[in-house]
Each structure stands twice: as C-alpha cells, then as structure tokens.
Amino acid sequence: MKALVPDRRRLREWFITWITRRQLPEGRTLRLHRRCIYILPTRQGYTFALILLVMLLGAINYSNSMAFMLTFLLAALGANAMWHTHRNLLGLRITRRPAQPVFAGQTAQFVYTVENPSRVARRGLLLETLDGAPVPFDVNPRGENQVTLDLPTRRRGVLRPGRLRLHGRYPMGLFRAWSWLYFDESVLVYPKPLPMDQAPPFAGQDEGESRERTDPAGEEFAGVRGYQPGDSPRHLDWKALARTGDLYIKQFGEVSGGQIWLDWDQLPAGDLETRLSMMCHQVLQAQGQGLRFGLRMPGLALEPETGEAHQRRCLEYLACFALPAESCP
C-alpha cells in the first residue's frame, strides 16, 4: 500500500499533464478562458440531487402541485448554480510576480495578482499547489487581490511550483469549478548556510594586487536585483527586461575592504552538500563584511568583486553546482 502512494500521486500528475497538454506554460499573465475551466458536482451536489429525488417522490405520491413546483424550482436552481460556479472563475486574470530566491529550509513565496475585470465579486476562491495547503481569497468587482503561496524548501536548486489549482464552489456549493494554472516560473534555492567552526572564514590565500576602481566617481556597477516599487526607472535593466520579461534594477555600489578568495579546496572535508552550505555561509560572511571576494570552485573561478550582484552570482552558482542542466537554467 505504502509503495502505491507515490505512484498514485505520479499518476495524478501525469493525468493533469495529459488533461492540460494543450495548455502551454504562461509567461507572466494568464486569463481564465472558459475552455480551461473544469467543473464537477461536489459531494454536497450529489446529496442535494438525492434530496430532490425524495422531494419528487413525495410530490408524486401526494399529487401535490406546489411540491412539484418547488422541487422543479430547486432542480433548476441547482442546475443554474453550475453556470454561476463556472462564472466565478471565468475571465480572472492572474499575473505572477517574480519570486525572490531563498536559502534551503526557508519558505519560498510565490505571489500572484488576481484581477477581476467584471462587475461581479468572485468569492470563496482557493489557490493551491498540487500537494500544498490551499490559500483562500476573493476578488471584489473590478478589483484585484494578491495571493501568496508559501512553499517550503528542503534542497538547494531550482524550485518550480508546477501546476497550480485555482478552484471554488461559490455560490451554492453544489459544484466545484477549477482551472490548472501553469506558469513558466521557478525560484532559485541557495544552499542552506552552514557556519564552520574549524576554519576561519577567510582561509583563502590572497592573490595579486587589489583591483583598481573602474569608476573614479566611486560608483561601480554591482549587478542587478529584482524591481521593487519605488525604484528609479533610470536604473532599469532594459536588456534584462527584453530577455526575461521581468523588471530588474541595475545596482551600483562602493568598494570597501580587502580582497579574498573563497576556495573550494580549502573547505574541510565533508559531503558535497555540507561543503556547499559552508561555502554559502562564507559568501554571506564576506559580503556582510564588505569584502572584495572571489570564488574558486572546481571548473570555475569568479574574479573577486563586491556588491549584491556578485554575491547573487556566487550564490546562484552554488545553488546549481553539480545539478543536471535541465533542472538549472
């Protein structure tokens, strides 16, 4: 039995993939079209049908006209509920927000903006990943709402939420309408930082002279980070926008402190993941102390630099280190 459980889950995943095979992953925004909304009766729907049947039998037995009338009214009402349940999802626009990288063990947050262009409130909606807890929300007429899905992370690498299920049984609870949301999105999970006690953080040997500042004005390009409301449009990274469709901000920072190399070979012995965690910790330390640091890993050396962009590059490298290419961009 136990062995069957993961199989069943995989079967379900396979089935959903098959059902939605025509639905290509969306870039940023997705609109719920009627062709991608599915609907089935709920348990309560079947109970209601059963109660209607009993009512009908009573009406026939007593030849009671008003009982007939009420039974038929409720039957038509129940069928009508199907339209309204479907309508509750129809036309919603879901836009994904760029997710921020996290360290393994932290919770990754996927944020979506759900817009309701219609004049009717959408209520009792739930958004969930295939095996996560549903997040309830509703959207006012001509309004929008932010929905945050929390995904726990365990391992470093790329985390994809996969297909999301947006569903609801409003207004009568007799039917459940749902849609599979499929965004081409992922979040990078850095290794979990692990302090090492044996070795001092800066065990790497100095190499060469400290680099000249490239920009005499004191400001140098220090990498890009995700756009946040309030950022000056002057610093937008237009090339990145054209490439990815997301907004990024170019950052400029000041150089301070000395220069070090963080060397893989200098790390204490241990398995791959532990050593990556240690390296991650060192990167954070170096950045925290404002040092100019370089990263030397098997097969790659990142020249010493400073700034958030550099740190990000280093962490990204650590996150994807030795992982299969298709799971890492």
Binding site: F48, A76, A79, R123, R169
Partner: protein, 663 residues
C-alpha cells in the same frame, strides 16, 4: 468526528462572516408555519435548538456535549412515537424532520454539516405544502426559499464579509433564472393519476364534505363551513337559483335513524330524453373531499372518464377525490327517470323498519285512506309542513329516541335533513316509493370570474318520489317550510339567525366593499386551484390538446420537455457567452481599422508603411473635401494612442468623429 485530525480548510465553517446565523434564521423561517400543523413542542424545541446554536456562534454558550444530543434524539423520537403511534406518515415524518433539523444544527461544526442543515431546510419548506397550498402559504414559502438560498450563498462565500445585498441579489437572480425551466418541468413532467404507495390516513383530517350516510346533525356541521365545495362554469347561462340542485349521494336504506346508500350497481343505460329538452353543459372544479362521488347538476346525462353512474343516478369516481379535480358534464333539469320501476327496486324504495316512527306511519296511513291519488297525498304532506308550526333552524333540539317521530310531533324545528328524512318516511309509509338525495343547493355567482361558487354551507338534502308515468320526481319539503332557502339560498333563510355561519355575518357587517373583495379573492382562488393546484394528468392532457399535441404519450412529453429545457439552456448559454466574451484586445486599433476600411471603400488605401498622420495628409491633398473630418479624427487618434493619459470620454469622441467621415 475525531477532534485530533486537522480539519481541511474547505471543511471549516466560515466563522467570521456569520454565515451560520443566516442559516439559523432561514431555518427558523422554514419551520415557522409548522406551528399550526404540529404540536407546539415540536416547533418550540427546534426553535430552542436554533437559539442555542446561535448562542454558541456568538460565543455566549458552549456546544452541547454529545451525550445530551443522543439523549435529546432518543427523547424526541419517543415523544413523536407517543404522539402519533408511528414514525412514518405525514405528521410523524414532518415532526421528526423538524426536530432533527434542529438537533443537526446543534452538532454543526463543519461546512458539510451546515450544508446538510440548509438542504433539510429546503425539505422542511416543501413539507409545508402537504398541509396547505393556498396562495398566502405559497408566497410565504417563496420568501423562505429565497432566505434559505441567500444563506446558502453566504455559507459558500468564504471568510470574506459579503454585503447583504450581494447575497440576496445573487439568490434572487439565480431563482429568477430558474423559473423558465421550472415552468417547463411543471407543465410537461408526466403526472401519475394515483399515489405511489398507500396514502397515510392522517392526510384526510380536516377535509369537509358530504358524508356517506345521513343522520341528524351530519349536514349541520357542513353548514358552519364557508369552505368552497366546488366551482362551476357554464357554457351558456346558468340555471335559475331554484333549479340549482347539485346531486350527490342518494340514500335509499333507512335503519330508523341513519340513511345510507345502497349497493353501487351501475346504471344499465344513461338517462335519455327527447331532444327538445334543454341540455346544460358545465365544468366543475371539485375540491378534494376524500370520498368518491362527483357532484352534478340535477340529472347528468354524460359521465366523466374514470367514473360511473349508479342506479340511483349519481356519479362515483373510481378513486377518492384527493386533490382538486375538474370534469365537464351535460345535465338535463327536466327528465323522466326510470319510467318503469322493477319490483325489486320498488320494494327497496318502500322499505321501512317495522318499529321505526310508529306515529308517522299511522299519520301516513290516515292520509292514504283519504287520498287515492299519490300527487294529492304529496300535496297534503307538504301542506302539513307548511300549515303546522314547523320552523327552519340550524340549531334544532337534540333528537334521541326516534328522531323522525320526535321531529314530526314534538320538536317541529329542524333543517333540510330533518325534513327530507321525515318526508321520505311518510311517503314510504303511505306506499309511495321515495328516497333521500343529498348534495348542494344554490351557489353564489361570481361575475368577475364567471363561475358559480358552491360552499359547504350550501349543503342540502331533499326527497325524490316515484310516480307512475312521471318517474322519479324531486320534492323538496324544506321549500314548504322556508321557500327563501331555495329561492335565495341559505343566507336569506337564516338572516338574523344566531346560528348563521361566519361568512354571512361578516358580509352583513362589512357591506358591499367586503363582498367585492370576497369576489376578487375567490376568483383568484378559482384560477389558482384550477390551473395550479389541480394540475394533474387531466389538465396536462387538456393543455397539450390546446397546443395541438393531444396525442402525445409520456415518452413524447419527456422528449418535448427535454427539448424545451434545451432551448432555454441554449438561450441562457448564448446570453452568458455574449456577456462574458473576452474584451477586444485593443479597442483603439479596432476603431482605426474601421476608419481605414471606410476610406478604402472610397479608393483611399493606406499603405502598410504609412503612419497615420502621413496618411491623413495625403488624403487632405488628394480629397480636399475630406480633409477636415479625416484630420480631426487622426489628430484625436494620435492623441489617444500616444498621449499621456487616455481619457475614456475622448474615446467616445473619436467614435463620433469616425461617423462624420462620409466617403
């Protein structure tokens, strides 16, 4: 339910939005009318349960422990069993349903429980119709359905606090949209003529009507009731009031106190009469009375389907009249019935118990010795009632020992049944075949609805005697005592009498306005009961006939029903798709495309590489008469397309400018 297992979010009862309070209120509305149908404690217990659960929701009371619920369930089941002796049938079933709805609410912790309570609420609403289907009840139940549906909407709206208008508006919208399908199903769902299983006995309680025997006092109960017995609409003019004798069961057997009908032998041949005589055709809407006879005007000459005519010339349906039935009949008011009386029939019509009414028998034999002629004897008898101090009253003294003798010689006060019974005894004692006929006499003409309303208080009994050469002849001894009773109806005969029915006193006190309102109300009732409540297999057949689909069997009806529902669904689907169509991606581009198409018709085609302004300037050069509108349009378009803030009003102006361009 194990408390340890974490509840799924979807099973959780929305707490903050207070949906449960709405469910409680709607359930309260649904059970309310059962206060009149059920013992008070049934509704009271449920109301207390509702109040308790409301208190729990508001945090004032604890949830009742499980053992209390079990105890209450057992106790209530026991009480219902004690009250009705059964757990099945209409009354016991409804009592249980109402009680269990309250108890279910008391253990409602999850969404699923609350949903079940709502469904039970719908069920409680429908059970109200098994007690009354009158218009006020129907309106009340409509409100109850509305409230229950709104509560259901709130229950499913999640934690957000929904505006009251939104939930009630949506409930109203959904119910309104359900009405067309409801009407189609109501009209075309195949109806069965009889019950599926045995009708419980309790469903007959409270139904009034003529009884299958006549003893002193049996009709006087009816005379107190204003309830309609039946309504008649005539094809031509209605007969004059004195001719409005509505024939019900005929009684030929007398045991000294009670009159009963004989065996139900079907008549050999329907009464025939010379063609010259007047035939009255009419349609009767007969209220349910739980017996099998069908009322008819005087002597019916046709028989409705599913009915028979008994030897004594009254109509009997094949099953009891349990809901309003409608039938069309032809009658003749002057007709020779049974010109030849067989020996057996004659003996039966002369039969008197030897020891019954000795003084009456002596009186009759005395008359016989003085009159050879039957008709002269009948005149003497009627003269006796007329000249001796007989009174017509609805509250006669009690008759105990021998009701006929006591009435004739001591009390001398009574109403139709006393007179009819005494008269038939006298006739039989004098050797004239005679029998008692019960039914109704008179009726109130409703000019608004063009029909005659006959109430239970119009119940009447009269006599028929058999005369050589004339057959059975109607003799109404009550007319000898109180001619107004027959000419103007019972209200005139009883005016000023304290025993008068409620309706009479009311109409006397409130005058003409009240009477007018009563006419209106009864007209509405007439159509309501005729077209809604009595809608059974016959009415359904009639409706299909009118639509030219008379030959449709149940399969055809279901096909038609499904097809019509399909049409309604398609119409709704079309409206739905139109209203929820995807908005145009770029309305501005659409307008510009219209503009280009319009100019192209005039031979001015925009080159693919031509910017809007260049295109406009070229038109201004080539067709100077178009320069002004085209430039105005293009300037507006460019402003909207590339300007800073798109103003929705300017978009409307752009459309106006487009209309000005005429090529």
């Amino acid at each position: 339910m194990s408390a340890a297992a974490p509840m799924r979010l979807e099973d959780r009862l929305p707490g903050r939005s207070g949906a449960l309070l709405w469910v409680i209120a709607a359930t309260g509305v649904a059970i309310g009318p059962h206060l009149f149908n059920q013992p008070v404690w049934v509704v009271l217990t449920t109301t207390l349960a509702l109040a308790w659960r409301g208190g729990v929701h508001l945090g004032r009371l604890p949830m009742p422990p499980r053992w209390i619920l079990v105890l209450l369930t057992v106790l209530m089941t026991g009480l219902v069993l004690g009250r009705y002796g059964t757990l099945f049938g209409r009354d016991a079933g409804v009592a249980l349903l109402v009680l269990m709805t309250g108890l279910k609410l008391l253990e409602t912790r999850t969404y699923r429980d609350a949903m079940l309570v709502v469904f039970l609420g719908y069920f409680v609403i429908i059970t109200n119709f098994f007690y009354s289907q009158e218009i006020p009840v129907a309106l009340y139940m409509l409100v109850a359905v509305f409230a229950t549906t709104a509560a259901l909407v709130r229950l499913n709206a999640g934690e957000a606090i929904q505006p009251v208008r939104e939930s009630f508006g949506l409930a109203g919208l959904m119910l309104g949209q359900a009405v067309p399908v409801m009407i189609i199903l109501f009209l075309l769902f195949p109806r069965l003529p009889g019950p599926l299983w045995g009708m419980p006995q309790d469903s007959t309680t409270g139904v009034t009507g003529l009884s299958d025997s006549m003893s002193p006092g049996s009709i006087s109960q009816l005379l107190q009731s204003d309830a309609p017995a039946f309504r008649v609409s005539f094809t031509d003019d209605p007969p004059v009031p004195a001719q409005r004798y509505w024939r019900g069961p005929v009684f030929a057997h007398f045991d000294g106190r009670t009159w009963r009908a004989g065996r139900e032998t079907e008549v050999d041949a329907l009464p025939q009469a010379p063609d010259l005589e007047r035939v009255v055709t009419y349609t009767i809407n007969l209220e349910p009375h739980e017996r099998r006879w069908l009322l008819a005007l005087d002597i019916p000459v046709s028989v409705p389907p599913d009915a028979r005519m008994i030897e004594d010339h009254y109509l009997v349906s094949s099953r009891p009249v349990r809901r309003l039935v409608q039938y069309t009949l032809a009658s003749r008011t002057d007709l020779i019935l049974e010109p030849e009386l067989s020996e057996a029939r004659r003996r039966q019509a002369l039969n008197l118990p030897a020891r019954a009414a000795p003084r009456a028998q002596a009186l009759a034999q005395d008359w016989r010795s003085r009159h050879e002629d039957d008709e002269a004897l009948i005149r003497t008898a009627l003269g006796h009632f007329n000249e001796e101090p007989f009174f017509y009253t609805l509250s006669p003294p009690r008759l105990e020992r021998d009701p006929v003798d006591q009435f004739l010689f001591e009390a001398r006060a009574g109403f139709c049944e006393h007179y009819a019974s005494a008269f038939v005894v006298l006739m039989r004692a004098a050797g004239i075949p005679a029998r008692v006929v019960t039914g109704y006499q008179g009726g109130e003409y409703n000019r608004l609805g063009n029909y005659l309303l006959v109430r239970q208080s119009d119940a009447h009994a009269w006599a028929e005697v058999w005369l050589q050469g004339r057959g059975w002849v109607r003799v109404d001894p009550t007319a000898a005592v109180s001619p107004e009773r027959i000419e103007s109806g019972i209200r005139a005969a009883l005016s000023g009498d304290l025993g008068a029915p409620d309706f009479i006193r009311r109409s006397l006190d409130w005058g003409i306005v009240r009477l007018q309102w009563a006419l209106w109300r009864d007209s509405i009732d007439y159509y309501w009961s005729g077209w809604v409540l009595a809608f059974g297999p016959e009415r359904q057949g009639e409706l299909l006939e009118r639509l030219g689909l008379g030959r449709l069997d149940w399969r055809g009806m279901i096909t038609l029903m499904v097809a019509l529902v399909g049409v309604v669904v398609l119409v709704f689907a079309a409206i739905f798709l139109w209203r929820n169509r995807l908005p145009v991606a770029d309305p501005l581009a659409v307008v510009y495309r219209h503009f280009c198409r319009r100019l192209a018709r005039g031979g001015l085609t925009r080159a693919p590489h031509e910017p809007p302004m260049d295109f406009a300037r070229r038109i201004a050069r080539e067709r100077p008469e178009l320069a002004e509108p085209v430039m105005a349009f293009t300037r507006e378009y460019v402003a909207l397309r590339y300007g800073a803030s798109p103003d929705p009003e300017r978009f409307g102006r752009l459309r106006g400018l487009l209309r000005r361009i005429r090529v």
